[in-house]
């Protein structure tokens, strides 16, 4: 890696967790904290004073601050308030989402009310990106200003734009938006080749099994044994990516280092969150039936969310998990959920993903049996039912040797290396996931570029005027597969200006719609008779204008400068004092419910943290890390304390599932 050039990092900006990776001499590598943890939970906690904490710390305190803790912000990226409200998405969120006032009635921008301040999803995502940037800078010991960021393959243009805006607000030049399943395939393909090179170097004749990356657990041995098609030839890969909030399937052909995406399908509102919601819904329903209680306050919803997630995870290894809720006044809701019960709840969601897979196969004009390798990506692919159904569909054991949480970030780092010119033999050829078109007469959708068209690609369309002397033409640009414009998503109103005045119908305006290598739309227009370039004013339906992004970037930059001052140290010391004091209170209240060694560990950690804060050092990062570590150690204690608090305040407590 040349030092005079700025490094490009790879970022997986996830619904549940986010990661950052770099590419060095040894290949792609995720950046970990001292505890070896690569994931940063995509959770933000905002204090009333305007302080933001991100990651594990924020997640640990989510129940205490349900309305000022923001999670799953990715589900809101590039989407309008009206459509979110209509989809029922907002009912699941403890924090408040409102419609932002804009300059135009055709725009629909959602914003989160954070202690009275309205923040758009890109601004909130920018805070996560900034945290990852900081992490990468601390690790590399130099500034980072450029990044490759991944998005679900099925993200539409507005969602991609929103992601790029988030990068810009965070002070990152987003050199590429890359699709998550494609990134995963890149990491997979590279791992495969790396392994093969080593085999060649060893000069040994190994069986096919030896050509796969090293497996992490024994269960993958069989999958490895079936890893087919030696390198050099062509192989067909399916990437099944089920994350916290989104699902994608991509079919790729890999040949001589070129990854050609054949087709992609998915659902940007289907993921592990929905499985959690099934469990939450079940508990709320049954508590209502048995006790006539409605448990739906933000705090309870947050608490339910936390343990629905842990029940879900438990059921991936155990056959049953127990839910127990103390409702106060001697009322106790208790039930166990078996894995098969949980599977029945999520089966319809999984069925939807399989429909997408069949569609993607049909679009790629291949049969399931022709697929040489199935790669699983995303935390939700740890669910046994998911693995079973995917295996049934493709008739082969999915390849699971890569960590499904990390593979996307690794792929992003590989793409970063390709763009930096450090990785010359690999190349990604991706497709546009949804058809692009314009609203035509009568409100129909006139498709200009069909879904699964290889990008970059472009289409041109001629427009003219209806009125004599007309100098402006408005075009409604759409994305989607339906026949009517109203059933597709409007990307925005594109207004062509500066058309020379002529009799109606005479101007010939040639509009070029270019989808660039990021899958993002660029529009240009020219009046052919006069040869004048028409200027284009874009009013994005769901997105931010470039001026808005610029302003947010400035605001965010000023914030960042403040962070750099001594304020940070003072804030940290205050926070440590607050957290340790609170922990003492919690220990006094519910400490007896901990195991003796659990309690001992917390007390030791508390003493160490106090000593560090008292030492009056100037290393804010060290202090910050120590605080995060401490907060993580007290998660279980906080859960216990919350149960108690809820019981006192709401007379309705929620306890974490029993271990």
């Amino acid at each position: 890696m040349s030092d005079n050039r700025d490094v490009i990092v790879g970022i997986d900006l996830g619904t549940t967790n986010s990661l950052v990776a770099v590419f060095d001499e040894a290949g792609p590598r995720v950046i970990r904290d001292e505890m070896g943890e690569s994931r940063v939970p995509s959770v933000l906690a905002f204090s009333a004073e305007g302080r933001v904490t991100i990651g594990w710390e924020a997640k640990a305190h989510a129940v205490e601050n349900p309305t000022s803790t923001v999670f799953s912000i990715k589900r809101l990226m590039g989407r309008g308030y009206e459509e979110l409200a209509a989809s029922g998405e907002l009912g699941h969120l403890p924090y408040q989402v409102v419609k932002r006032v804009t300059d135009s009635s055709s725009r629909d921008i959602a914003a989160v009310n954070v202690n009275g301040r309205l923040m758009t999803p890109p601004e909130i995502s920018a805070l996560i990106l900034r945290e990852l940037k900081r992490r990468a800078e601390a690790h590399l010991g130099r500034p980072v200003s450029r990044a490759v960021i991944t998005v679900p393959a099925y993200f539409d243009d507005a969602q991609r734009q929103a992601t790029r805006d988030a990068g810009r607000i965070a002070g990152l030049e987003v050199v590429r938006i890359v699709n998550e399943p494609t990134a995963a395939a890149l990491a997979y393909g590279l791992g495969l080749r790396g392994q093969m090179d080593r085999i060649k170097a060893a000069g040994s004749m190994l069986t096919l099994a030896g050509q796969c990356p090293t497996s992490r657990d024994g269960a993958d041995a069989e999958a490895q044994g079936r890893c087919s098609k030696p390198g050099g030839g062509e192989s067909l890969i399916a990437v099944y990516d089920l994350g916290g909030g989104t699902f994608d399937i991509s079919i790729l052909r890999l040949m001589d280092g070129v990854f050609e995406v054949q087709s992609t399908h998915g659902n940007t509102r289907l993921g592990g969150d929905d499985f959690d919601r099934e469990i939450i819904g079940l508990v709320q329903r049954e508590v209502g039936e048995q006790f006539g209680l409605e448990i739906n306050s933000p705090a309870i919803r947050q608490a339910l969310r936390n343990f629905a997630e842990s029940v879900k995870m438990r059921l991936s290894c155990d056959e049953t998990a127990t839910i127990e809720i103390d409702l106060g006044q001697g009322r106790r809701y208790r039930r166990s959920i078996s894995r098969s019960e949980f599977e029945a709840m999520i089966e319809p969601w999984i069925a939807k993903t399989l429909e997408s897979c069949r569609r993607a196969l049909a679009d790629a004009k291949v049969k399931a049996a022709e697929v040489d390798q199935v790669i699983l990506v995303g935390g939700s692919t740890r669910i046994p039912l998911v693995r079973r159904r995917v295996e049934e569909l493709f008739g082969r054991r999915p390849y699971t040797a890569l960590n499904p949480d990390e593979v996307v970030a690794l792929g992003a780092a590989v793409q970063a290396a390709i763009l930096a010119g450090e990785q010359r033999d690999a190349l990604l050829l991706d497709v546009i996931p949804l058809s692009l078109g314009i609203e035509t007469m009568g409100g129909a959708m006139g498709k200009l570029i069909l879904r699964n068209t290889r990008i970059p690609c472009q289409a041109t369309e001629r427009f003219s005027t209806f009125v004599d002397g007309q100098t402006n033409v408005k075009i409604n640009v759409l994305q989607g597969e339906r026949e009517m414009a109203k059933d597709c998503r409007s990307l925005g109103e594109f207004e062509l200006r500066g058309i020379p005045p002529m009799p109606a119908g005479l101007p010939k305006i040639l509009v070029t719609f270019l989808i660039d290598e990021n899958g993002i739309l660029n529009v240009s227009a020219r009046e052919e008779r006069s040869g004048t370039e028409a200027s284009i004013q874009i009013v994005p339906t769901y997105g931010l204008t470039s001026d808005e992004v610029k302003r947010m970037e400035m605001e965010s930059y000023e914030h960042a400068r403040e962070d750099m001052t001594a304020h940070r140290l003072i804030d940290l010391r205050n926070q440590i004092e607050f957290d340790t004091h609170k922990t003492e209170q919690m220990l006094a209240k519910v400490g007896d419910r901990l195991l003796p060694d659990e309690r001992q560990k917390i007390e030791t950690a508390m003493a160490e943290l106090k000593a560090l804060a008292a030492a009056n050092g100037t290393d804010a990062d060290a202090l910050h890390k120590a605080l995060i570590e401490f907060d993580r150690k007290t998660v279980r204690l906080a859960e216990l304390a919350i149960t108690e608090t809820l019981r006192e305040t709401d007379r309705t407590g929620v306890s974490a599932p029993r271990h």
Binding site: V258, H265, L427, R454, R482
Partner: protein, 211 residues
């Protein structure tokens, strides 16, 4: 073919003097040339003769080799201008490849090269087709509403057979395009017809909500 557009393309790269695979880029030195876009045929872009019969594997190989030189990821770093060229050339290359790879699009393209109207200007089909399509369409809806999987499967076979017959006709007409100018109208009709069969098949495929 008399009316095919011709371009005098340099045999060798003007920068490195190596033989050129394609007029729009040099795979040896990476020199890009956006000028031939729109002036030279998709076949010429890949150094192929203008003919319906092509070797799809060799087309794919050439496409990959050229893409390695023209894709913005490879060619786009040097300057804003080169990135602009790389975008224009690779989107043209993608369009050309996707057109030539698909027999229906390839036949459409050949028709346009000999100056025949496109499907938007001439939608004519054989007189019986519309009635036939309408009937099958209704049968699909009925079977779907009744949840009759056996009938749906049966309809799928029917449509597949029609699709195949239409396709075979397209192939033989497209091959004869050069010698027989009167094959052009017939080809136009068959290319219009295949759209109907493809749409019907689309309705029968998984993941289709019938919209």
């Amino acid at each position: 073919m008399s009316s095919q557009p011709t371009t005098s393309r340099p045999i060798r790269c003007t920068t490195c003097s190596q033989p050129l695979e394609s007029p729009i880029c040099c795979t040896s030195c990476g020199q890009l040339n956006a000028d031939p876009i729109g002036r030279c045929s998709y076949f010429e872009l890949f150094g192929l003769p203008v003919d319906f019969d092509i070797d799809e594997q060799s087309l794919h190989r050439t496409y990959l080799s050229l893409t390695r030189s023209v894709h913005p990821d490879v060619a786009g770093h040097a300057s804003q201008e080169k990135r602009h060229d790389a975008l224009a050339i690779s989107s043209e290359m993608n369009r050309a490849y996707l057109t030539l790879r698909d027999p229906v699009l390839r036949a459409e393209y050949l028709l346009s090269l000999v100056g025949e109207p496109g499907t938007s200007e001439d939608r004519a089909v054989s007189p019986d087709l519309l009635g036939e399509v309408m009937t099958i369409r209704e049968e699909i809806e009925e079977a779907r509403q009744a949840g009759d999987q056996a009938s749906l499967e049966d309809l799928k076979q029917q449509v597949a057979a029609k699709q195949q017959a239409c396709m075979e006709s397209i192939v033989s007409l497209a091959r004869a395009l050069v010698e027989k100018p009167d094959a052009r109208r017939a080809l136009r009709r068959q290319l219009n017809a295949i759209k109907y069969w493809n749409n019907l098949m689309d309705r029968l495929l998984p993941g289709s909500d019938g919209v």
